[in-house]
């Protein structure tokens, strides 16, 4: 069994699975249960400034979308930061860290954008013995309207400024949590980097309305006939998070900046994908909220098995390995030609590939009277839609047309030489190969 011990910003944890700052990490009781279940670390639910705590709504605070068998695919919430007194949280954090020295305990913080507010809270957090802090610049609801959360995360200058304060008043690692509710994730990441953040974590939740109650004509969840946008998370957001992680991992200005990835991690595979895309570890929330803390045990066994199969002895062995293969569209090889291939042995003759291709793509699949489906190579542009709609995994595959053979669609011989859009004759700004 592979050793999953992960060191992130010098903070050691027995595995790379941390619980994200959220309801599961709101108090000592939950966090102890999480550690007993096997979680490698927690980011404690966001603390606010001293004084009367925030209040939450007393109607529903979560909304969801489901698959047919009620599999939860996406969750949204309008819960705020911790609604418990600061001192209570600090005392609990101190006790928990003392009892679980081998686990990572990070404290999430959100206080007003004033230096004094940060100067006040940081020493108190430092005194708990926690391993680091995470700045909540992501929360998209409630707190943003008060000038905190994503209201800060959407302004790179604020991010840099607050990060600098934290580095000034706090001695341990500072992680900046980013909101995805922006146009280009690289800008806030660069700002965090410029403020000397030790790492970024992303994504926080995405602004969303999960559904509309068509009887009451109100968004869900509905509170007294009204609803508001909440933060979307869970399996549905993973592709968005993966891209944002990749953008930061490959940006020349932030390359090498440690990343703690968040966004729909549900199984070991999700975690491995984020880590291959440059994340040093992952944070999980929705999977735990859906299935309970025990889910971490599958993540541990799955990642460990996969590492054994691949011969990786440490998570460091594969972190970032996929990053060099993320590129811009303009650099994709236009001479790489594939054609769809349908395995007649595996085909169950549902005809979905045919309907998809005929109605919405390139009319490149033929259907015989007895429901045999074949690819017309002279029409197939290799779009992959048939692969994606086929209900039988592995039945339709994309086969490379080797160099020297004719692409029947274009009538041209496949050259085998790399060529991209930057040098393509149709590109007005192409630079001719010298």
């Amino acid at each position: 069994m592979a050793d999953l011990t992960t060191e992130f910003l010098g903070i050691k944890s027995p595995n790379p699975f941390w619980l994200a700052s959220a309801p599961p990490t709101d108090k000592e009781y939950n966090v102890r249960r999480a550690f007993e279940a096997g979680w490698g670390g927690v980011v404690w639910k966001t603390l606010g400034a001293e004084g009367p705590p925030v209040v939450n709504v007393n109607g529903p605070r979560y909304g969801a979308i489901w698959g047919a068998d009620r599999r939860l695919l996406g969750l949204n919430n309008i819960e705020l930061i911790t609604d418990r007194p600061l001192q209570t949280n600090l005392e609990e954090i101190t006790r928990v860290k003392k009892d679980y020295p081998d686990r990572a305990v990070i404290v999430s913080i959100m206080v007003p954008c004033e230096e004094q507010a940060w100067k006040d809270i940081l020493p108190q957090v430092e005194a708990t013995g926690a391993d680091g802090i995470e700045l909540n610049f992501g929360c998209p609801h409630g707190m943003a309207e008060r000038g905190m959360g994503s209201a800060v995360g959407q302004v790179p200058e604020y991010i840099q400024m607050v990060t600098e304060w934290c580095k000034k008043y706090y001695s341990k690692p500072v992680i900046v949590k980013l909101t995805p509710n922006i146009t280009d994730i690289r800008h806030p990441a660069r700002a965090a980097h410029a403020g000397h953040a030790d790492a970024v974590s992303l994504i926080n939740t995405i602004n969303s309305i999960t559904s509309v109650d068509l009887d009451n004509m109100a968004p869900e969840p509905t509170i007294g006939g009204k609803g508001t946008h909440g933060g979307y998370c869970g399996p549905a957001v993973k592709p968005i998070a993966l891209n944002m992680v990749a953008e930061i991992a490959r940006d020349p200005q932030t390359r090498g900046l440690p990343i703690s990835a968040i966004g729909g991690v549900t199984t070991w595979r999700d975690a491995a994908e984020f880590m291959a895309m440059g994340a040093g570890n992952v944070q999980v929330c929705t999977a735990a909220m859906t299935y309970g803390f025990k889910v971490v045990q599958e993540m541990i066994s799955g990642l460990s098995n996969w590492m054994d199969e691949k011969g990786y002895t440490s998570t460091q062995d594969f972190i970032g390995m996929a990053v060099p293969n993320v590129t811009d569209w303009q650099y994709l090889d236009l001479n790489y030609v594939t054609k769809a291939r349908i395995s007649q042995d595996d085909c169950i003759k549902c005809g979905r590939c045919y309907a998809a291709c005929e109605d919405t793509s390139h009319q490149a699949i033929a259907m015989s009277e007895d429901r045999v489906f074949t690819v017309k190579d002279d029409e197939c542009v290799a779009c992959n839609l048939c692969v994606n709609v086929c209900p039988v995994e592995g039945c339709i595959t994309m086969e490379e047309v080797p160099a020297g053979q004719i692409d029947e669609r274009t009538g041209k011989v496949v050259s085998g030489e790399y060529a991209n859009w930057t040098t393509h004759p149709n590109n007005p700004s192409a630079t001719a190969a010298e």
Binding site: A68, D69, I348, C350, G351, R352, A355, M367, P391, V392
Partner: protein, 444 residues
């Protein structure tokens, strides 16, 4: 006090009321909303779907399943009933394992088809529960049409004709409508008086008058009907039964399976329905299975189906065979009756093993006897009481693709007509299609 299943002879009350109720409960219990959503989600929404092609009434199955999946089973029911007005009964009695579900691509993929029959029931039940009738009559045409026989074909034709604006008079020889839906078919496939409820619901279209106790050739004649109506549709079923032509066939305790099933379907209290201790059913079709299984469910100790050909040639599907076996019915293949023995009443049946070569069944000479106090004959039904003027083909009323008989102005469909399998769903298709042809022929 219930009679023991070991009591010899033909006895009522072999099981108590609770045992009977349990045995005759719904064979395929209905889906609840969540089960239906999950089952519906398994449908791949195939292009030019094979299930739809396999359905004799060509129901747009992917469409109705998608409507269930999207949470509007009422639209799903309309999609079904547009094609098959007896979609509720067909959902219960269709041998889906040899029709839509056999064709389902998931059957090919994993041996587990989408449960089309149960989904169809889910949709149609929703509409019938609300007692909504989603069809309205077209403007009256002034045309009058006689339908003879209120079974599936007759009812389907009557509904379609009424919908098209014609006035329909339905005649049936029995005192109740429904035909085989009411008098045939195993009770556990159409529980809670479904056949009658469905007819009542169907008649909500209006424009259909029902007349019972009217038998063709007795109370009514084809000539009169032709005179009084603009068109006639015959759906008289197969009223005759084949005989064994075997020694001892007249002994007490030897009966036609269809009569037993009809008695069972009409019994108010199944504990009062007598059944033998040792029952032997001769035949290999659905009627044989229905008689055998229900004998077992009534409390018979030993029930045997004796079929003269191999398992593969049996008319009843493998699903039906397995159902019978699961209820404790013994299936014997390649055996034929040669004599029925007994003093006054049957006590034994003598069978001979058979060989089938070139389609012909011959005895091997090896014989054996089974103890039997009741023998049911289920070796096929025949056309009976058809008008002389009408041409036949293969023992049935000869019809063309549109249901037209050899007599002008007279159409036929259902089991009495040539072509198609003798299934409820086929009868519905034939009734519906004949109605369309009658309509176009009358309206020019």
């Amino acid at each position: 006090m219930a009679t023991s299943h070991q009591a010899s002879g033909i006895q009522a009350a072999r099981l108590d009321a609770a045992g009977i109720a349990e045995n005759f409960s719904d064979l395929h219990p209905p889906f609840d909303a969540h089960e239906a959503a999950v089952a519906a989600d398994r449908c791949y929404f195939c292009f030019d779907a094979p299930c739809m092609t396999a359905c004799p009434t060509s129901i747009d199955i992917p469409q109705f399943i998608r409507e269930i999946q999207a949470g509007h089973p009422e639209s799903a029911a309309k999609t079904i009933l547009d094609q098959n007005i007896l979609g509720g009964m067909c959902a219960r009695v269709c041998p889906t394992e040899t029709l839509c579900e056999e064709a389902c691509v998931r059957e090919a993929a994993e041996g587990k088809p989408v449960e089309i029959g149960r989904l169809q029931r889910y949709a149609t039940d929703r509409v019938m529960e609300k007692n909504e009738h989603p069809f309205a009559r077209a403007e009256a045409t002034g045309k009058r049409i006689a339908v003879v026989g209120a079974g599936p074909a007759g009812l389907a034709a009557a509904h379609r004709l009424a919908m098209l604006g014609h006035d329909v008079q339905v005649f049936d020889a029995r005192e109740k409508p429904g035909g085989l839906n009411e008098f045939g078919i195993a009770a556990y496939k159409a529980t809670d008086d479904f056949a009658q409820r469905e007819v009542d619901w169907l008649l909500q279209i209006g424009g259909i008058t029902m007349q019972y106790g009217q038998k063709l050739g007795a109370q009514i004649s084809l000539d009169e009907l032709k005179e009084q109506f603009d068109a006639v549709f015959l759906s008289i079923g197969l009223a005759g039964v084949n005989t064994l032509r075997t020694e001892g066939e007249d002994l007490k305790g030897v009966r036609d399976a269809v009569d037993f099933i009809a008695d069972l379907r009409q019994a108010d209290d199944l504990t009062t329905l007598p059944v033998g201790r040792n029952v032997v059913v001769i035949g290999g079709g659905m009627t044989a299975v229905d008689a055998a299984v229900q004998s077992k469910l009534l409390g018979a100790e030993n029930v045997t189906i004796a079929y003269r050909r191999s398992r593969e040639e049996m008319g009843a599907s493998r699903f039906e065979q397995d159902l019978a076996a699961s209820k404790g019915v013994k299936l014997m293949f390649n055996v034929m009756p040669v004599a029925i023995h007994g003093e006054g009443a049957v006590s034994e049946i003598e069978l001979e093993y058979t060989e089938v070569s070139g389609g012909k069944v011959t005895g091997t000479g090896e014989r054996f006897r089974l103890v039997a106090d009741q023998v049911f004959k289920a070796i096929g039904q025949t056309l009976q009481g058809q008008p002389d003027a009408i041409a036949l083909e293969g023992g049935k009323i000869k019809v063309d693709a549109n249901g037209r008989t050899s007599v002008a102005g007279v159409w036929a469909g259902g089991d009495c007509a040539s072509g198609g399998e003798d299934l409820t769903v086929t009868a519905v298709a034939e009734g519906r299609d004949a109605a369309m042809d009658i309509h176009s022929s009358l309206m020019g």
